[in-house]
């Protein structure tokens, strides 16, 4: 699937920038420096928007495209910010046959976001994941550390209301 690029405005802090630049300095002369720096950047910012990738490109004397293509190749890198509440919907085989597709659609329609996107207020983000090992509870979603199982689309509104 094509990577979703976040649309929420970037609000990185000076402290985050300083930490990223330290990571760039540390790895700069290593062969294959880009990967550890991208990992560190995602750890610092939670995602890799154009502002962050530009700092990395400049620091490593690479073109922005040379950084971007790597971030779109590997699934662990995210280009959209995570919300305060990160909703994960399991689309693994068991959950899927138990109707997790409809659960995902319901969440999308209530929040107005597609998988890998974040709501404009920064509250909720949605990720599609593979099996989380709770097939007995299929279909399953997690919101941060909370697990909700045996769901029907009608349950979603009430669950989301808890986090409002």
């Amino acid at each position: 699937m094509q990577k979703i690029i976040g649309k929420t405005p970037f609000n990185g802090t000076e402290d985050q920038k300083k930490r990223l630049q330290e990571a760039i300095e540390k790895h700069k002369s290593d062969p294959g420096a880009l990967m550890p720096i991208l990992h560190k950047a995602q750890e610092i910012y939670g995602y890799l928007p154009i502002e962050v990738q530009s700092i990395i490109a400049e620091g490593l004397e690479l073109s922005l495209e040379d950084v971007y293509k790597v971030t779109t190749f590997y699934s662990q890198f995210s280009l959209a910010p995570k919300g305060k509440y990160e909703i994960s919907i399991c689309l693994g085989t068991a959950c899927y046959v138990k109707g997790s597709g409809e659960i995902a659609d319901k969440i999308s329609s209530i929040l107005g976001i597609k998988p890998e996107e974040c709501t404009e207020d920064g509250k909720f983000s949605l990720t599609a994941c593979r099996c989380i090992g709770a097939c007995g509870l299929a279909p399953v979603i997690t919101i941060n550390k909370d697990v909700y199982g045996r769901l029907t689309p009608d349950d979603i509104e009430g669950i989301l209301a808890k986090y409002a």
Binding site: S63, L64, E65, D66, K69
Partner: protein, 579 residues
């Protein structure tokens, strides 16, 4: 040269030790088809069109990158090889936009000719899902249609070779596509408009931002006075579009064809080149004798200018303030020439025929409106003008030679060599040395700055002045040279930089030559020879000896670098943000 013995299709051959199977096959008179492979630009062995059988190998091997070894036994044309190549093509077609009839590359498409040669008789064998891509027509110089892209990555290699890398392969698997960072349009990223990606593309995915129709309607408009002028490098390449061998000089036929197309005047950009030399040589002498910023760097190549603005902004004060020959030509056509001929500059449409796509960008730059209107209205690449000639049904090959119109069709050998790397330097040296010595120097061939080496350096003593010069082409080489200048490892007075490797003869607007030509022949070298031959054949070989140049200075500019010449013939540059 060390050699090894190998067998190709059962026959013994002795081939150079370091060759690939693809290269070795040439000794056997075998042309192995390729698609993603483009010598020196893209050598990734990915497309599997060039597969051959090697005895003992586990599977078919990609001959473009597979080195030969002693005793190797190669089969290039077995049933297995043929069927593998054919299947590869059919799989490529599965996600290819197959509307060939209306494709700009129909007839010059490498995918199309491979399908034809390798016997693909059914184009829908694997008719699977397709990604739908929008057109990227954001830039002034080109259009990307990813629906025609086969992901060979030749454009990516070309862009990387130019030290720019604004395009690459984004996402993965079925979603893989060639694009810019964060899926921005090409106009939003620091692309230098060189067009090397276009001449590398085997299909119709990359095309000119075509202005043929605009030019046709200007010609058809009786209120417009349409003037065309052609760059030095075009006469050495236009014939290729009509099946003539690379290196054929078609100057006379080209002039005839343009006249037949209905242009009101057919002039020579070489005149603009002579004018550039007058101004540039004077500027160089002025900078050296008055403690100006050195080294001075040439300003003819708009791809190089844009590159400098994005990537080396500290060098902007080093670039000569002279407009390029194209823009000088447009500027004088709409000022001096318009008033001399009593034509309203607003009626004049200036069309330039260029080996270059960055020229399409250049005409829209700031400070390119000497008469208050754009100096140049339309730029046609060599490819586009060939299209217009074909469209008009003109039998180019059998045309008689004709001469450019006076008075801006007169030029010298110095201008002719502008199209090759080292040419501007040599032309400037011819004039600067006469200006400095106030005599006419007999020694006019500066052979040290000729040739296709990446970086050429020389030192000349002219009237007691020591001149250290360097000539470089291709942006990767240029960047390396500028880094050395920055670190003060070298001490030049004058540098010629051309954006495209080999100079304008190898420009991004030049005729498309397929990999099967480019992999074996050095087109820059062949085309440049034509220009040096033209230089040798001309009676006048120094810009300042051009009688029309003398006339324009007598009547209008007075001296090079005068106040009016600064107003009309010089320009400014600006820093551009890379991110």
């Amino acid at each position: 040269m060390e050699t090894v013995q190998i067998k190709i299709n059962g026959i013994d051959y002795e081939v150079p030790q370091n060759s690939t199977i693809l290269e070795a096959a040439r000794y056997a008179g075998i042309h192995i088809p390729t698609l993603c492979y483009l010598k020196d630009i893209n050598e990734i062995g990915a497309c599997r069109i060039c597969v051959v059988e090697v005895k003992g190998a586990r599977s078919l091997v990609a001959s473009c990158v597979y080195p030969v070894s002693a005793g190797m036994e190669i089969q290039t044309n077995t049933e297995l090889v043929q069927s593998s190549r054919k299947t590869t093509l059919q799989l490529l077609l599965a996600s290819h936009d197959r509307r060939c009839l209306s494709c700009a590359r129909s007839g010059s498409c490498e995918l199309q000719s491979l399908c034809n040669e390798l016997g693909v008789s059914e184009e829908n064998t694997f008719d699977g899902a397709k990604l739908k891509h929008g057109l990227d027509n954001s830039t002034l110089h080109m259009v990307r249609d990813n629906n025609k892209c086969i992901l060979c990555r030749r454009c990516v290699g070309a862009c990387e070779n130019q030290y720019v890398s604004v395009i690459g392969s984004n996402d993965r698997g079925f979603d893989t596509h060639i694009g810019c960072a964060f899926e921005q349009s090409l106009e939003k990223v620091p692309c230098v408009s060189c067009g090397q990606c276009i001449v590398s593309c085997p299909t119709g995915a990359l095309m000119d931002n075509d202005h043929c129709d605009d030019v046709m309607s200007a010609i058809s408009n009786p209120d417009k006075y349409v003037i065309v002028h052609t760059a030095p490098a075009v006469r050495a390449t236009l014939g290729e579009c009509f099946g003539m061998p690379p290196g054929t000089n078609v100057k006379g036929k080209m002039v005839n064809a343009l006249r037949k197309l209905g242009f009101d005047k057919v002039f020579d950009t070489d005149f603009g080149a002579d004018l550039t030399i007058m101004e540039e040589a004077a500027e160089l002498i002025h900078r050296i004798t008055n403690g100006g910023t050195l080294p001075m760097i040439t300003s003819c190549s708009p791809g190089w200018i844009k590159f400098c603005e994005y990537y080396f902004p500290n060098f902007l004060p080093n670039i000569s303030s002279c407009k390029s020959p194209q823009q000088m030509m447009g500027a004088i056509l709409k000022t001096w020439y318009a008033s001399k001929m009593n034509i309203d500059p607003n009626r004049i449409v200036v069309v330039s025929v260029m080996p270059c796509t960055a020229k399409k960008f250049e005409i829209k730059r700031d400070h390119q409106c000497a008469a208050g209107v754009a100096d140049t209205d339309y730029v046609l690449t060599t490819r586009e003008v060939a299209k217009l000639i074909k469209r008009a049904g003109i039998d180019f090959v059998s045309l008689n030679d004709e001469n450019f119109d006076s008075i801006l069709g007169v030029s010298t050998g110095a201008a002719a060599i502008f199209g090759a790397t080292g040419g501007v330097m040599e032309a400037a040296l011819r004039t600067a040395s006469d200006m400095l010595s106030e005599t006419s120097q007999k020694e006019i061939e500066y052979k040290e700055v000729r040739g296709i080496e990446n970086i050429k350096e020389a030192t000349y003593e002219i009237s007691g002045l020591t001149l250290n010069v360097a000539v470089v082409s291709g942006l990767k080489n240029s960047a390396a040279l500028l880094e050395r200048v920055k670190r003060k490892e070298v001490n030049y007075h004058f540098i010629e930089i051309m954006c495209c490797p080999g100079g304008c003869v190898n420009g991004g607007g030049q005729p498309l030559q397929p990999a099967r030509v480019r992999n074996y022949e050095n087109l820059s070298e062949i085309r440049a020879k034509t220009l040096y031959a033209e230089d040798k054949s001309l009676p006048l070989r120094k810009s300042h000896e051009n009688p029309s140049i003398k006339l324009i200075y007598d009547e209008y500019f007075k001296t090079p670098g005068s106040e009016i010449s600064h107003k009309i013939l010089h320009t400014k540059y600006k820093i551009r943000d890379k991110f």
